[in-house]
């Protein structure tokens, strides 16, 4: 497998008042296509910053981020928008689905930014939400809402699926269901990157990256990732 994602000396500095804060301080990383990657680290370590940079939601201060052979660190706003629309899927801790659109409409929203040959019904079926297609998000449980978020992300068949604490707001049983869906995606060649505090999730990952003080502390390939059901949550 070639290096599908490659970060070289990535720095991200925030200026707050007169003080500078290095959220990422020279990150170097390689991730292969179709891997399920778990990024672990304490609060303020730079996990979310890394995810935002990978998703084209923020810009590096210096360094390069090559994804599928293209350095997105050099992209302008327009190119980044196109990148987000076509190549990345996001899953947020608090789902961020449009409260005034139904489940089906939330998923079809993607069709307004990119072409997809997927059918929303099939996607909803794959996440087990067929019955809820016409419901509004408020009528669903937290787990179901997160599944809407996943369905929306996979509707566009993204190359990379970026998940920020996807199970953070869910109970363990629902969290497991969500992780199963994410694992399935990685099996379909989508690179899934999960940022989390929960180190148990690392047991199912193909690769585990630990971040501390804006630097990569370790980047380990898990040679024997466990099946989700094998993990004691």
């Amino acid at each position: 497998m070639s290096n599908f994602i490659e970060l070289k000396n990535v720095k991200k500095t925030y200026v707050i008042g007169e003080q500078k804060f290095n959220a990422l301080d020279g990150v170097n990383l390689e991730i292969n296509e179709g891997e399920l990657v778990v990024i672990l680290g304490p609060s303020g370590a730079g996990k979310s910053t890394l995810l935002n940079l990978l998703g084209g939601m923020d810009k590096v201060t210096s360094g390069s981020i090559v994804i599928d052979g293209k350095n997105i660190a050099k992209y302008n706003d327009k190119e980044l928008t196109k990148y987000r629309a076509e190549e990345v899927g996001f899953i947020f801790q608090f789902y961020n689905i449009m409260p005034t659109l139904t489940v089906d409409e939330n998923i079809n929203l993607i069709k307004e930014v990119t072409k997809t040959n997927k059918n929303s019904k099939d996607v909803l079926k794959s996440v087990g939400l067929s019955k809820h297609a016409n419901k509004f998000p408020q009528e669903l449980s937290g787990g179901e809402q997160q599944r809407v978020s996943i369905a929306r992300a996979i509707m566009k068949s993204p190359k990379v699926l970026l998940c920020d604490e996807p199970t953070g707001a869910l109970d363990s049983k629902t969290g497991v269901e969500v992780l199963k869906l994410l694992k399935n995606q990685s099996k379909e060649k989508t690179t899934v990157i999960i940022v989390t505090h929960n180190s148990l999730i690392s047991e199912i990952a193909d690769r585990v990256i630990r971040i501390k003080n804006g630097k990569v502390e370790s980047n380990i390939i898990n040679k024997h990732p466990k099946n989700i059901d094998e993990v004691k949550w």
Binding site: G17, N52, T81, R84, N96, I97, L101, L109, E112, R152
Partner: protein
């Protein structure tokens, strides 16, 4: 197919219905107020123009003792299309009402608009009556009324109810402002109704012949028609630009022409035009301020709506929506709402405000078929409003989109720049309480929001002061005119050509305090002449003079003339300047020095004493007599044309004031609603921004009431300061309105009582306080965990 974003928009609007209804209503009210007043003003103009054109309003009125020869001479003058003779007299009716009776030969100039009845015909015996007068006195076509003039008593059948283009506004006397249609109206009849017997009697009286045989001997071929004392020739000029030329020609050629007055200078035309001009200023000011305040509230609401969608904007960005697409989505919220609101505002403005106001005006002026007219500027204003709303959505959306998506996905944490706040670290601030310091810093951080709130409350306070102040000022001027200047109970308007014996008889009964009104022309340095009048007083203390500060002056001196302040200001007259003038009908010019100024709220003219008039060698012929004798039971007095009771004049003014009150209540209500909405919107915005800090304070153990106090304090400061600023602005606005909007011949200014200022300030503060109080209840419901979680 409706796109997902459009679906989102409709549902977002439904979800935030109260906010969008606010935007909708504010735009609707603003556009409705503006377009309504425009439609009504424009409607007034177009209605009159149509009436003037279709019914052929004359261009000039030639006054004097005129006859058919004069008419034929005038008709020969170049550029004259047509001319007609008219005899206008003040007649009375059987129930002692006054009728301005016009006797005519034909009706091609100032043609009747007939509501009911038949067209004018010289051979028809009967009378065509003022439609309003007929309605007020319940007179119908076919009824017979008695018309009396001197020895003439005519029983006339009503042949028609009419409007006439030179009788849009008629008052019995200049001292009346408000027409009393029940007591005074106009009427037309054929000149043939003036009997030969009556004319003959008059001619005999003038020639001092009492024997009819002698008369027949002296006037063997007496044709009474040649002796009819016509006093007006209405002249229709072919083109507007020829009017001055024609006027000069008539002056040169017609010796009997005492005065030639352009129709634009006649009371009916001037008053109607004045109402339109006055309205135009009101359009600019009131509807402008409404629109401004309405837009402030729309801007604040729209900003609030878009800012509340911050995380959704971030999510759309994360999903790959382009900035333009997101902006378009948020612009469309404002666009559709403002488009619908503007369209409905335009329609309601036209059909509701326009029609209501036109009907009010048409109850005052006699113009048929009054209807509003949509003015093009209303469309521009509506488009402008839509553009502003779109721009606000654009600017707010843009400011959020400028941030990167990662940032947008987080709740906004107040942006604190230390430098601007350094001032609050200085010594003087150290003595202030925590709440005060906190609020000062909050204001410094949110200057724009504070300014908008401030401007909204200032506007609200200004409008309240202005609305109440207009009422105060009008009441003040009623007092000034009818108590300070007019110091009599009755004014008796004498008949023309009254002889010395008759005068003496009147003096004996009612005293000898009199005055004379002289129609004059003033010649300026460039030989241009302008019509005016001189008030010659021999009324002693019955008609007093007041100075600029409305203080009663001592009696005028006898060695020159007095000019009203406004006339002096308009013409640039100074004390010591000399004015050259002549009386209509007399070519002799007099030059008089200005020895002082006086204020007259209703007429801008020249005054002098009888003694000064005598010194010029001009015969004093009084036409009004003032008395304090009780005349309530006397309906008619010999040689007196009309009796005017000061209380009735005052009542007439009060009638006008009560109409004004209704309008002012409307203005104040709208001002309060708009002001309240702005304060509420800004309060919500400010609360949302502070929620995080309030949650922190709550976590730290602050009680709800302490937090509420912090919140209310800032709004109170703004309300107090803004209402104080609004007070003088209200004064200046009222003063400006009275000075510029009101017709030229009035001299009003703002006179606002302390009570009004106090009521306005307290009223504004109470509105602001109640809204803040209402909003502060939200503090009770702050969920500390959720509020703080969004700001990891």
């Amino acid at each position: 197919m409706v796109s997902m974003l459009n679906k989102k928009m409709f549902r977002d609007i439904k979800k935030n219905l109260s906010q969008f209804i606010t935007i909708f209503l504010m735009i609707l009210i603003g556009v409705m107020a503006y377009s309504g007043i425009e439609a009504y003003m424009d409607g007034m103009k177009k209605t009159a123009d149509k009436f003037y054109t279709e019914n052929n309003l004359q261009d000039l009125n030639v006054s004097g003792l005129l006859n058919h020869k004069d008419l034929e001479e005038i008709k020969k003058i170049k550029n004259i299309k047509d001319a007609e003779l008219k005899l206008s007299i003040n007649a009375t009716t059987d129930n002692d009402k006054t009728l301005l009776l016009n006797c005519i030969e034909s009706n091609n100039i100032s043609k009747f608009y007939i509501f009911e009845g038949e067209e004018f015909n010289i051979n028809k015996k009967g009378i065509w009556l003022d439609n309003f007068y007929a309605i007020k006195n319940n007179i119908k076509v076919g009824d017979t009324i008695l018309v009396k003039y001197e020895t003439l008593e005519l029983h006339e059948k009503v042949l028609g109810l009419i409007n006439v283009p030179d009788h849009l506004y008629d008052v019995r006397d200049e001292s009346e402002l408000y027409p009393d249609r029940k007591e005074f109206g106009f009427a037309y009849m054929s000149i043939n109704e003036i009997t030969e017997e009556y004319i003959k009697k008059n001619v005999m009286k003038e020639a001092n012949i009492s024997d009819i045989n002698l008369f027949n001997l002296i006037f063997p071929d007496f044709n009474y028609k040649e002796y009819i004392p016509y006093n007006t020739i209405m002249v229709d000029v072919n083109k507007k630009e020829n009017i001055n030329k024609v006027k000069n020609n008539i002056e040169d050629k017609i010796d009997n022409a005492k005065a030639i007055i352009k129709i634009e200078d006649t009371l009916s035309y001037l008053t109607y035009q004045g109402e339109i001009d006055e309205g135009k200023t009101y359009v600019g000011v009131f509807s402008g301020i409404f629109l401004f305040i309405a837009m402030l509230s729309v801007i604040t609401t729209m900003t609030r709506v878009v800012k509340n969608q911050r995380v959704q904007i971030g999510t759309l960005k994360a999903l790959g929506f382009s900035n333009n697409k997101i902006l378009l989505h948020y612009i469309s919220y404002g666009f559709w709402i403002s488009l619908f609101a503007s369209i409905i505002g335009l329609l309601l403005g036209y059909y509701f405000i326009g029609n209501v106001f036109i009907s009010l005006e048409m109850a005052f002026f006699e113009v048929p078929n009054g209807s509003p007219s949509m003015n093009i500027t209303s469309y521009y204003v509506a488009i402008g409003v839509i553009l502003v709303v779109v721009l606000i959505a654009y600017i707010t959306g843009r400011s959020i989109l400028k941030e990167n998506p990662a940032e947008t996905l987080r709740e906004k944490i107040p942006n604190i720049k230390g430098k601007g706040l350094n001032i609050t670290k200085k010594k003087i601030f150290k003595k202030l309480s925590f709440e005060s310091i906190w609020n000062i810093r909050d204001i410094l951080r949110n200057k724009m929001r504070t300014f908008m709130g401030f401007a909204g409350v200032v506007g609200c306070s200004t409008l309240i002061v202005c609305a109440l102040g207009m009422l105060d000022s009008m009441n003040f001027f009623v007092k000034l005119q009818f108590e300070d200047i007019y110091n009599f109970k009755y004014k008796l308007n004498m008949k023309e050509n009254i002889n010395n014996n008759e005068l003496k008889e009147l003096y004996k009964k009612y005293g000898n305090k009199t005055s004379e009104s002289l129609g004059i022309e003033i010649k300026d340095k460039s030989e241009e002449r302008e019509a005016n009048n001189i008030f010659v007083t021999d009324a002693g203390n019955y008609v007093r003079f007041v100075d600029k500060n409305n203080i009663i002056k001592e009696m005028p001196n006898d060695n020159g003339i007095y000019v009203t302040y406004k006339l002096a200001e308009t013409k640039g007259y100074k004390k010591g300047d000399k004015i050259t003038w002549h009386i209509y009908g007399d070519d002799k010019y007099y030059t008089s020095p200005i020895i002082g100024f006086n204020k007259d709220p209703q007429n801008q003219n020249i005054s002098m004493t009888k003694k000064y008039l005598d010194s010029l060698g001009i015969k004093y012929q009084p036409n009004a007599l003032y008395t304090n004798k009780k005349l309530s039971k006397e309906k008619t007095i010999e040689n007196i044309e009309t009796i005017q009771d000061i209380d009735n004049l005052k009542e007439g003014m009060q009638g006008m004031l009560s109409t004004m009150k209704t309008m002012l209540v409307l203005i104040i209500s709208i001002a309060i609603i708009l002001g309240g909405v702005i304060i509420y919107n800004l309060g919500i915005l400010s609360y949302t921004e502070k929620k995080y800090q309030f949650a922190t304070l709550k976590v730290l153990g602050f009680k709800d009431n302490q937090i509420k106090k912090i919140f209310i304090k800032q709004n109170n400061w703004i309300a107090i300061l803004a209402s104080i600023i609004g007070l003088p602005l209200g004064y200046y606005l009222t003063d400006w309105l009275f000075k510029t909007a009101i017709e030229e011949h009035y001299d009003f200014g703002a006179y606002i009582t302390v009570k009004t200022y106090i009521i306005s300030a307290i009223g504004t503060f109470i509105v602001s306080y109640l809204v803040s109080r209402f909003l502060s209840r939200k503090v009770n419901n702050i969920d500390m965990v959720t509020s703080l979680k969004g700001n990891e």
